[in-house]
């Protein structure tokens, strides 16, 4: 089943699914939004005098955004399958083949395509776009902080940029490994023809696109002025842009839940014959742990925002203390999601680097079982630590000690993952490539992120450090220094399989060193101002903090150049890079056994697995 077949498959009477694509989706979404906006403007009753400000405008905004969402998803074709099924006639074989993107070339990237490889590339594209936007906002923040007295951004614009940067980067880092590589590589790695639920796979991607518009929309109606955590009651008095945030989170949460269920089922049910749990690559464990952790976390996030929308638009009082609610309820719901979520980001990156470590050291992965114990331990503990974000909130001071215990316990499974990585490097044959050096970079950055995490987990020290720039630097070291480093290594490592061409070596090195050096300069500066007492999320600061802030800003510009070099590398290597052999790294996982271009269902004959993929090294005699 190759992609070069005659194009005359489509019957004369074109099926509805052949007419739908991203353009019809945007059109239908926009029309629905405008219609609902005009209707609600005309028919929604005026607020009572006792209502909160903006209540009617909130209703109108939220209704219009919901209409956009429904219109977009209808226009992309997400409802065709369920509707047909409801009418008692499922999609025909030709229609399913069309949905899979058979014989369609570049067009399939703009449709509701179910092929996991197409979805993987779509995810890669949107991840790059999100990082580009989030990175641009980061540069605006850092430029504004170049001078102590605020500078050229208005305070409200600055707060909104901080919030938007935060949520964009959180979403970007959540999807950066499980999106592109979890979708493109993972099914081939386990020897499957596709995901367990291909249509849900397409759904999870297009939901992210649908979610993007409310966030963008929110920027023009007041912005997200609350930071990404959107604490109530601040969020209930924030401008209408907050509704964009609420819709964005709700739709993104659905996407994450759908993707989580899909990836978990695929791995549990569709591994190749002979791929027992002991022979399943560690990257698969990382992906599953990440999305399985998102399954309990994101419904809570969804819920917290629905309640927030009710408070704003309908005058309920879930978070309003004056009417019997509590801001602490929001904090609890938010961090019940928020702490598992950081491991949703971190685990797949770590697992991807553990997958690469044996390949680039030419020896077996050290202590596969310990690696799994570490991943499982982190996942289990991560749902028990949320209130360490609330030590100084006054919510429950007596719970501080138990939460300090659970938080510090996480260092044990995290240490196990360190052991696996250094154990694998020990006495290996180093193949000096960007992915290999990323392992060292991760060890360095994650060590700093981890040790500063110990100070923050300590209740008295957190009394000083909480809410300061020190915290910001700490979580950038873990999510960016460790997480993003793993994702960039994955990009270079799997690039040949995804595009058929090698990633330009020189560009990968230049980008690697610029990003890593810039990163360490930037965030060491940020640790310094945090220790000196600069709070987070401020648009102006005392002049004594200026020098270290300038250091951070300079570092940020170095990162920016490094990331632009990487972006150039992606584009130029994909267009005109060196053609990649089938298995350029001589790795032993299944994705390297298929030719490029990878046929629609990956394997002509499904593979049988007889050993784990880590049989490197010379046998001792």
């Amino acid at each position: 089943m190759t992609t070069v077949m005659s194009k005359s498959v489509s019957a004369p009477g074109k099926s509805i699914i052949e007419k739908l694509n991203v353009f019809t989706a945007v059109a239908l979404g926009a029309i629905s939004a405008i219609v609902v906006w005009r209707l609600s403007l005309a028919f929604l009753p005026q607020d009572a005098d006792s209502a909160l400000i903006f209540s009617r405008e909130d209703k109108i905004t939220l209704l219009s955004m919901c209409a956009w969402f429904v219109g977009f998803m209808t226009g992309i074709g997400a409802l065709v399958g369920p509707f047909r099924w409801l009418m008692g006639k499922d999609l025909s074989h030709e229609e399913n083949m069309f949905l899979a993107g058979k014989d369609m070339g570049p067009k399939r990237y703009f449709r509701y395509t179910t092929d996991h490889k197409v979805v993987g590339i779509q995810y890669l594209f949107i991840t790059i776009l999100i990082f580009f936007l989030g990175g641009t906002l980061a540069m605006l923040i850092r430029t504004n902080l170049g001078t102590p007295e605020g500078g050229w951004l208005h305070a409200q614009a600055y707060n909104s940029i901080v919030g938007t940067h935060g949520i964009l980067m959180i979403v970007g880092t959540i999807i950066m490994v499980t999106g592109p590589f979890g979708n493109f590589i993972m099914p081939i790695m386990i020897g499957a023809r596709d995901m367990a639920f291909p249509r849900l796979n397409a759904l999870s991607f297009w939901l992210i696109v649908a979610a993007a518009i409310p966030l963008l929309w929110g920027q023009f109606i007041g912005g997200i002025t609350t930071g990404w955590s959107a604490y109530n009651p601040l969020a209930s008095q924030a401008p209408l842009g907050m509704d964009g945030y609420i819709m964005y989170i709700c739709i993104f949460a659905i996407s994450t839940m759908v993707a989580g269920a899909n990836i978990t089922t695929t791995v549990v049910k569709m591994r190749a014959k002979g791929m027992t749990w002991n022979r399943t690559p560690i990257f698969i464990y990382g992906t599953v742990a990440s999305v399985a952790l998102a399954l309990p976390a994101f419904p809570v996030f969804f819920l917290s925002q629905v309640l927030s929308a009710f408070d704003r638009a309908l005058g309920t009082s879930f978070y309003n203390t004056k009417l019997g609610g509590s801001g602490w309820l929001y904090e609890n719901l938010f961090w019940l999601m928020g702490h598992p979520e950081v491991y949703v980001i971190l685990i797949p990156s770590l697992a991807a680097l553990m997958e690469m470590a044996p390949v680039f050291t030419r020896r077996p992965l050290f202590s596969f079982n310990v690696a799994i114990m570490g991943i499982a331990g982190i996942s289990g503990l991560s749902v028990l630590v949320w209130a360490h974000h609330m030590y100084i909130s006054g919510w429950a001071p007596l719970l501080n000690a138990p939460f300090m215990l659970t938080t510090e316990l996480i260092s044990i499974p995290t240490g196990m993952l360190f052991l696996v990585l250094i154990g694998t490097l020990w006495r290996g044959r180093l193949w000096m490539t960007m992915p290999l050096m990323s392992i060292f970079a991760l060890l360095w950055n994650f060590m700093i992120g981890g040790i500063t995490g110990i100070y923050l987990s300590d209740v008295p020290a957190d009394g000083f450090l909480h809410g300061s720039m020190y915290v910001t630097a700490h979580f950038h070291y873990t999510l960016m220094g460790a997480g993003l480093t793993g994702a960039l290594a994955s990009l270079v490592y799997w690039f040949p399989k995804m595009t058929g061409r090698m990633f330009d070596k020189t560009l990968s090195w230049i980008s690697f060193w610029m990003v890593q050096i810039g990163f360490n300069v930037a965030f060491v500066g940020m640790f310094m101002v945090g220790l000196a007492g600069q709070p987070r999320r401020v648009e102006s600061y005392a002049p004594t903090f200026n020098t270290a802030n300038m250091v951070t800003t300079a570092g940020a510009y170095i990162i920016m150049i490094g990331m632009l070099v990487l972006l150039y590398g992606v584009i130029s290597s994909a267009r005109s890079g060196v053609k990649a052999p089938k298995n350029p790294w001589q790795a032993k996982t299944l994705e390297w056994t298929v030719d490029y271009p990878i046929p629609l269902e990956n394997f002509d004959v499904l593979p049988t697995v007889t050993s784990d993929p880590y049989g490197y090294g010379k046998a001792q005699s």
Binding site: L430, M447, G533
Partner: protein, 256 residues
């Protein structure tokens, strides 16, 4: 870990890479511990309360406790990076062993990280216990702190009210903190204490200033448009000056 050796090399500690790692371990531990401690101690604000001094000692102790682990990781990385590197487009020859696991190394590693974890926990609990007792001090001065967008107000027992905080030195204070609008966070920077101001609730925070001077109060929770400017000063003065200020200020307050 040093005992990842092959079984046929009985004297594993005599291997050159093990020796090199051991020496590097000592050096890296010393360097990382020293730089880590100095980095924090030099950049952190100078303490104006016992709480802040104990936070600095905690950071110092935790850094030294963590440095052997960080030092070992660094030592292994340096050893590995300085031997058997291979450049080029084709893979290097296979490593000359197939070690997949080492129970001893794992057990040692996990027990050491467990002990360090326990150590950090106990260290934190001791200081925490001490801080918590402050709230119960019967001799403490009581000050009501009210946050609102975007100022702090301080109410004293005798009816005085101010926007700058005045405190006597070496006398315990208990703050009763609340907010009239959104969440704020009351942070006396140089005293190392912080507590959120929640609308509708009163939270408590205790501290004993031990240095005369002017220190910073900043809001540490994003509270809207002018969050960055929601800051004021705390004047720590002698008991006599404090009493004088307090009676004077209360009189002004009543007169106005």
């Amino acid at each position: 870990m040093t005992d990842l050796m092959t079984p046929q090399a009985p004297q594993w500690w005599k291997r050159p890479d093990v020796k090199k790692t051991a020496i590097l371990w000592v050096i890296c531990t010393a360097v990382i511990g020293y730089i880590g401690v100095e980095f924090h101690v030099r950049n952190i604000v100078s303490p104006a309360s016992e709480t802040m001094s104990s936070i600095i000692s905690l950071i110092r102790i935790f850094t030294w406790a963590a440095s052997p682990v960080a030092g070992l990781v660094a030592a292994i990385c340096i050893t590995v990076l300085t031997s058997k590197r291979h450049y080029g487009d084709n893979p290097p020859p296979e490593a000359d062993h197939q070690i997949r696991t080492s129970t001893k190394a794992t057990a040692l590693w996990v027990s050491i990280s467990g002990l360090l974890c326990l150590f950090a926990l106990i260290g934190g609990l001791i200081v925490l216990q001490h801080d918590n007792e402050g709230v119960l001090d019967a001799n403490a001065i009581q000050v009501k702190v009210t946050g609102q967008q975007w100022v702090w107000n301080f109410d004293y027992a005798n009816g005085a009210r101010s926007e700058d905080l005045y405190l006597p030195v070496n006398k315990p204070v208990v703050f009763h903190i609340t907010s009239v609008d959104v969440k704020h966070s009351f942070w006396i920077v140089q005293m190392g204490v912080k507590m959120d101001a929640n609308p509708g609730y009163v939270t408590e925070l205790a501290v004993t200033p031990d240095k005369i001077g002017i220190f910073d109060v900043r809001c540490a929770e994003l509270c809207g448009l002018l969050h960055a400017y929601m800051q004021t000063k705390v004047h720590v003065v002698s008991q006599a000056d404090y009493d004088a200020w307090l009676s004077n200020h209360a009189a002004i307050e009543k007169g106005a």
